[in-house]
Symmetry: C2
Subunit: 472 residues, 2 copies
């Protein structure tokens, strides 16, 4: 523990009481390693404020004693952005005690949730008033509103509702100088200078601590319809998406699944079966939803898929007959990563290119990776409609046991080069955190890195807000 | 002309040719005064680049010779943000020659327009491919995409589609160090650090020069229905909005008109008549649109207004029988400011509070202003559904001829205090520019001004990008 840390902890305990400071290392231990278990950090203490004012006190103490803070929500990030450095030079700032939903209203279609509110809790609260917060992802039982906002999280409903950036109506945050930025008033129009709200969204806690967020709600879903379709190429899959979107506003999920990924799921994941009788080189999971209880959604989706079949956009399709079957279809999509890892070593890349370029990118990049690294299998699956796929490279069955460690970096650099050449992003959803910093530094235009460093230095001159993350 | 300006002009002429430099003061003259004719500036030359690369050259020269640039689009701003200082110490940077629509596609629902493209031109281009760019305002024949983006413009369709911030998919800009920020790739998901796109939107040219913008398109309108309703209070007007929005997604315009404003329009504007036979204390103009050619929109709106009448939310309503009548209803709304000015001196305020607070604010703030300044008439009209009204204070018929000059500032400060106390914004649509800088400085929380100054200093350390605007 540094002298500064000891002084900060003593002072914080005096001002905020024992509840706000955890120094028992056993209690801290689950929070110093990222949730995929790849990056191990250390922190001599975890600060746990219960109010915005307590965050102000902590940030002021951090500035006074030059102690870096690592803000953390559910610790479910994919880029180790909330994992403290391993030398114990920073303190964890857990936002989980700030877990109140301050207000929620169907009239204004807004909820104000504190940073530590768990996503599933917000889902439930919205549901209770006949509304819905339309962003979800696998970690919904653990991830928090503050973390989702700080990482501009995405998920499976982005196609219709956008990422967190589209759903945030305002942010309350404590800036590195201890001042409170209050953007919670829910103004729909406000042109008083640079948008600090927008700057804080996706800043991964490097420009301030988000303490509460005003979030947009939409009417609750009255019905959903889920279908599985077979197509001969990613191009045809995109044709299907555009065919559907030209005819209905109800498409909410559109996930691409290569046939070999489906086969791995059927092989490794219990209680799964193929939705279609024949095999297709590519598959698509389509979800439509409506808030209108009088709208016959299954009939609409069935009719549209029938037309798509006639026009030879798709080869076959089946509508989930009931909610259990809809869940079964989604399970096929959601277990791909597990099935691939059960089969062999797998290297994951969270990338995006423009939606129109994605079909060609998937096909060409896969071929280039397989040519360059003989024996590997490359494929892309996921959010085709967002131009965002999980581009996975599998080791194949003959790979060395240390393939991931020995070849992983080289393959990732090759993939990232292809993505960059295609004008895409090497971090579509997961952020930069610690894990993508060097690739970001290698591939970003120099002017961009300069601008990011200048902003970081301007707002956090003492570098107390999550240093070593995001900004290369 | 300063030495630096002379050197920059000579060098720019050598590198970019004569076309890119205007030094004829007659030609410059229309562009150095803001369009409301209130602020008179001066500039020894106007630079007119035709490409992003030419903007880079100019920005580098500006940095080298320490000459400030004032970027300008259609010069239709309301806060004199594009008007140069009166001492001639800055050069105008006209973006109007960069007027190409680089690409436009119904498939991707995107257009990439250069900064100098006039809004009406983009409307037409979208229309030609069966699409629509869903933002419009009075100056659409002159205002440009670059200016609209730099001021995060609003207009009458914000209720459904949001301000420019919601419609911008990416920005290309030349930063003050001469580097190009290229955000045009149209990625729907990209989490590579702070969003420079979002920082440049609404920055009024103080952080860089926007050279092109990727914009979201929506399907073209197949039909619209316009109605005029009488209500007894702003509260009832908001009840009507929420009643409608709970039942349809098609409401696109919702404008509040006080009865006395309507009476002034009928008195001063030729060829106008009241839509309803009786008088109501407040009126609402409702516009619904649909992209679905099979949807009977007039029938839907008529049915919903009928229900609202039964539930005593409104006192009366009439649907425009045809397009000419729809235009006539809109004319009543759009000529309020002209009619008020024809009646007497009028002081305008572009303010917002949260949507739910607006009805009470209109009533209470009007009463407080009239109590504090006997003889004046205060009223609010406009975008109730956005929480944004034009809060006008009229001098009344007995006011002194210099009322505007002698009392205006005091009244504006009083109004701004009321807005700030209500958690609102003293600039909902128009930005800060030059005209609102002192009020912004007076009323913003100190931490906010510090943060804005730090960002400005970080990205534009030489202060060459539109100095003296926005940042107090």
């Amino acid at each position: 523990m540094t002298d500064g840390e000891a002084q900060l902890i003593a002072e914080a305990e005096r001002r905020l009481g024992a509840k706000a400071i955890v120094t028992d290392l056993k209690e801290i231990e689950p929070w110093v390693t990222d949730w995929r278990g790849r990056v191990h950090g250390a922190a001599p203490a975890m600060l746990a404020p219960a109010s915005t004012q307590e965050v102000v006190e902590i940030v002021r103490l951090a500035a006074e004693h030059r102690v870096p803070l690592v803000p953390q929500g559910g610790n479910t990030g994919m880029a180790a952005g909330a994992t403290p450095p391993s030398d114990g030079s920073a303190l964890l700032l857990s936002m989980r005690r700030m877990n109140r939903i301050r207000s929620i209203s169907a009239d204004s279609r807004l909820a104000v949730a504190e940073a530590g509110v768990v996503l599933a809790t917000l889902h439930d609260a919205a549901h209770e008033i006949g509304m819905r917060f339309p962003l979800t992802l696998g970690a919904r039982g653990s991830c928090t509103i503050g973390g989702l906002t700080s990482t501009n999280a995405g998920g499976t409903q982005v196609l219709k509702f956008g990422t967190m950036r589209s759903l945030v109506a305002g942010v309350e945050a404590v800036l590195p100088d201890g001042s409170i930025h209050n953007g919670l008033s829910g103004l729909k129009k406000d042109n008083r200078g640079y948008s600090l709200d927008q700057l804080l969204i996706g800043a991964e806690g490097t420009l301030g601590v988000i303490t509460a967020v005003a979030l947009r709600l939409v009417p609750a879903i009255a019905a959903r319809a889920v279908a599985w379709a077979g197509v001969e190429s990613p191009n045809k899959a995109l044709d299907l998406l555009r065919f559907l979107e030209a005819r209905t506003n109800n498409i909410e999920g559109f996930e691409l699944v290569p046939e070999d990924s489906l086969q791995l799921v059927l092989k490794h994941i219990p209680n799964t079966r193929a939705p279609l009788s024949g095999q297709h080189r590519w598959n698509v999971l389509v979800e439509a939803t409506t808030a209108d209880p009088n709208h016959d959604l299954p009939a609409e989706l069935e009719r549209l898929l029938g037309e798509a079949l006639e026009q030879e956009i798709i080869g076959d399709a089946v509508l989930a007959a009931n909610e259990a079957q809809a869940e079964a279809f989604w399970k096929l999509r959601d277990t791909i990563a597990d099935a691939e890892r059960a089969e062999c070593q797998t290297l994951a890349h969270d990338i995006s290119v423009s939606v129109g370029d994605m079909p060609r990118f998937i096909v060409e990049a896969s071929a280039e990776v397989e040519r360059k690294f003989p024996g590997v299998i490359a494929s892309g699956f996921g959010h085709l409609g967002d131009g965002n796929i999980h581009f996975h490279v599998r080791a194949g069955s003959h790979a060395a046991p240390d393939w991931y460690e020995s070849e992983g970096e080289q393959i990732t650099r090759f993939v990232d080069d292809l993505v960059t050449a295609a004008g895409g992003s090497i971090s579509a959803e997961h952020g930069i955190g610690q894990l993508k910093r060097s690739e970001f530094a290698r591939l970003a235009p120099p002017g961009r890195i300069d601008a990011l460093r200048a902003i970081k230095q301007a707002l956090d001159p003492l570098s107390i807000m999550n240093p070593g993350k995001l900004v290369p």
